[in-house]
Subunit: 140 residues, 2 copies
């Protein structure tokens, strides 16, 4: 008969994480796409821990290269990204997240997508509007 | 009066290329999306020359990290990607191409998109079909 305090061994299959071709810094580029609209929202990075957390928590968790730490997207702004699909590519060196973007804003500038600058044949031109003022939202 | 053989000075504005935050290897990650369907087709890399060529030729030109050379997408397979929009993000460290994919196939495995492996909660699972057999197309 089992004691209430008997340690429990949990077997976790990490093969799917081992299968990823992490770069020399232990990172992989991640594309985040809004599942409903198809809009590409942002491109960020994950390390092994961030990818494991994204899968287990069902929300996007990245690795911040500038701050050198795990970055739970939306932890300050509330603009959480709920994972609908988690994909990788033929070389397993890129991740695609299909998400539901809470708050409709992925970019810290208050725009839907970070890709708001378009090449007009001569220069980069801002083509998408700010939905919510940068003063109203926390940075990332 | 001008001589027919007088040299012509062409001023080319490279500020838009200088504005890009190239990584320490002089590269930038590129997301390629089918403009009509919204499907994310692939993720690849560009150096400065590849980005300049993409803009001037109006078709996707990447930097192949494995072959260490300029890679004109579709030069062998015929699956050229016509540029409809060329965008960058708020940090200017990622590129988004909106394209028309000729031949409807972006992946060398004969699938529409390279992102055909989906995490099913335990492992990566192939979820998208091969449209054209790998024997029928040239590799990349």
């Amino acid at each position: 008969m089992k004691s209430d305090f008997e340690p429990v061994t949990v077997l976790i299959d990490y093969e799917w994480l081992d299968a990823i071709n992490w770069n020399k810094d232990g990172l992989i580029p991640v594309i985040t796409q809004d599942k409903r609209s198809g809009k590409v929202l942002m491109q960020a990075w994950m390390n092994r821990e961030a990818l494991a957390l994204t899968a287990s928590e069902g929300r996007a968790v990245y690795w911040s290269r500038s701050r050198e730490k795990i970055w739970c997207k939306g932890e300050e702004s509330g603009n959480i990204q709920i994972i609908e699909e988690l994909r990788t590519d033929c070389d397993k060196d890129s991740i695609l997240l299909l998400v539901t973007q809470q708050g409709s804003i992925a970019c810290h500038t208050g725009r839907k997508s970070c890709f708001f600058e378009k090449y007009n044949g001569q220069m980069w031109e801002t083509v998408d509007p700010v939905i919510r003022s940068i003063n109203d939202i926390h940075h990332k």
